[in-house]
Amino acid sequence: MAESSHFARLLRSRAAWLVLRFAVVYGALSWLAAVLPVYAELERPLVATANAFLRESPGESRALSFERSGAGGTYLYELRVAESARRVERDMHAHGFVALLFGALVLATPWLGARRFAAAFAGGAALTGAVCLLMLMVDVAGWENEARAALNLAPGARPFSLPVGFAAGLHQTAAAGLLPIVYWALVAVRPDARRA
């Protein structure tokens, strides 16, 4: 009896409605991403940013670009060492799904007020962008190793001045997409205890 009344309260709660709205909005955004090249368009600025962070040194140059094809695309990573060069081509990963998750959560959340919304959104957007960029940069670090091996060069050279190895675990699966969800749940949509 107690359990059923708890379940009834849960169903009536606004948290349940938030989850339901999130499901509907994310479903709609996912459908859009399936029929339009949303992920490929989200990947462009990530690739441009990662390319800007690539390290140049005397005798070594690196370049990362992205070619659209259909709804997806291909990453092109080129390592030049002296006269030698190696190009690695890889199919697109949909890193942008993290942005879709965050966007759906923001759209599903009742209006917070302009100031609060701006603060929460800025933090979440920065986190989302950083997670997506780090996932791509970890990919690039792997392609750097492949290119060096193909050129018979010693492994271990870092393609970026920034350390990205710490993000390898986050990149292993799509679970990193939960980061902006946890952020939003803890910062923006936590139930107010004063009502309890």
């Binding site: 849960l10 709660s13 606004r14 948290a15 349940a16 938030l18 989850v19 999130f22 499901a23 994310y26 479903g27 996912s30 991403a33 399936a34 949909a94 799904f97 998750l101 959560l105 959340t109 009742p110 209006w111 917070l112 007020g113 609060r116 603060a119 929460a120 710490f166 993000a167 390898a168 675990g169 986050l170 292993q172 699966t173 799509a174 679970a175 990193a176 997409g177 939960l178 980061l179 969800i181 946890v182 952020y183 749940a185 803890l186 910062v187 923006a188 949509v189 936590r190 139930p191 107010d192 205890a193 004063r194 009502r195 309890a196």
Partner: protein, 188 residues
């Protein structure tokens, strides 16, 4: 009750989430908790990449998931078996890789509960329950994908790439919100 009563942004009035969790420290405490959360998820996620952890722990988990999934599916159909980290349904097979263990999702969810300002017993129970929920939902994911891979390869891609990430996100969001509500109710 207005939506604004439900949706409160953490700010100087962090007392709303900090009952029984020590003095209110406002934004500084929120920043510290966020830092600890990031440190937890980065550290634990990278722990999963350590070769010895993979060999001694994750390999067994992958085997366990494959055999458990095969055991469940064999109740409904006869052409199911597990071998190492593979689940065979008919002539097709899915391989359980590290992204299919649910550990990563469990880490992200349980870590959020561990850093939330609530009494420690509540946090520990929440983290354990969150991890268990992540593992259970992941098992459902493996079961559905194993079946779809055999009978509907085109649906497999859609469900794998679009549907399950959304469902897992939904479950995690719902679990977290329900747990936060319960933790605050206990605090009074």
């Amino acid at each position: 009750m207005s939506p604004a009563a439900e949706v409160a942004l953490a700010s100087g009035d962090d007392a709303t989430v900090a009952h029984g969790a020590g003095p209110v420290r406002g934004r500084g405490e929120l920043a510290l908790r966020a830092f600890v959360y990031l440190a937890l998820v980065v550290g634990l996620s990278n722990l999963l990449l350590v070769e010895s952890v993979d060999r001694t722990v994750l390999a067994r988990v992958r085997h366990g998931i494959a055999y458990l999934a095969a055991a469940v599916l064999s109740v409904f159909r006869g052409d199911v078996r597990a071998a190492d980290e593979h689940v065979f349904v008919g002539a097709s097979a899915v391989q359980i890789v590290n992204g299919c263990t649910g550990f990563d999702v469990g880490i992200f969810l349980a870590s959020a509960m561990l850093v939330f300002p609530a009494p420690w017993p509540v946090r520990l129970r929440g983290a354990a329950a969150g991890f268990a929920i992540a593992l259970f939902v992941n098992l459902l994911r493996v079961l559905s994908l194993a079946v779809l891979n055999e009978g509907a390869a085109s649906a497999f891609h859609v469900v794998h790439v679009y549907v399950w990430p959304a469902l897992i996100s939904l479950v995690c969001l719902a679990t977290l919100l329900v747990w936060i509500r319960g933790a605050q109710t206990r605090d009074g």
